[in-house]
Symmetry: C2
Subunit: 152 residues, 2 copies
Amino acid sequence: MRKSGVAVVVALLLGAVAGAAFAQAKPEQLVKQRQAVMTLQGKYFGPLAAMAQGKAPYNADIVRRNAAFLDNLSRMPWDAFDPSSKDVKGSNALPAVWEQQDKFKEAASRLENEMHKLYEVSRSGDENAVKTQIGAVGKACGGCHENFRQKQ
Amino acid sequence: MRKSGVAVVVALLLGAVAGAAFAQAKPEQLVKQRQAVMTLQGKYFGPLAAMAQGKAPYNADIVRRNAAFLDNLSRMPWDAFDPSSKDVKGSNALPAVWEQQDKFKEAASRLENEMHKLYEVSRSGDENAVKTQIGAVGKACGGCHENFRQKQ
């Protein structure tokens, strides 16, 4: 089949970035990707935690924006916990991630679910419900950090 | 005002993460945050670029998921390009980011818009339209990388 003009243009534009997508991501890259998610979860959850504690003024617009970002981010880390990455230096993941996979997946699902509930409740405009749900998300973060991450 | 029981529990849970949210983020943290976004944009755009080039089989489910993630990610980098971060080592951002702010903002908006169009067209199920739009996103990536990032 002959390549269309569009396909050729796209090929020129996308050659470099597509290259990386053929091969299985390298272990170091997987660690970089999952740590990137944690960095951004911190960026967008930190202000919500401060609001829930009354240490920052409540801002419903920021809550809505951050909750939508977090709902997406909470689904991004998990496929980067590939067994090939378990001995990478600089990772804080404990062997329990791979030795207790069912428990890890359960903790991961809990975070996704609580983040999604936060997204939903952020649409309702009920400040108290939002603050309670921010607490539930914080607990779900802890559910992984306590059992599957080296103590900081 | 007396703290409610919920507020106290939340305070215990969220103390650490909220602390970071009071202070203005440090310049090094801003660079880390925006580089985290680039890492994840690469993770989710790479497979789409490969599909658009016919180098990976077209998978509408992956396109839909990645396009939704990318629609969110494309709105995350910009506030981390604070002037305080322009001299941080390890950043590839050129001084043009701050010297030509209007052009930088225009390029940023173009990426957001093209990513959002990709999200919308990914819902339509029209494979050719999706591939064309992946090309448009690639161009918008290049719009920033050519003028505002050190040559790699």
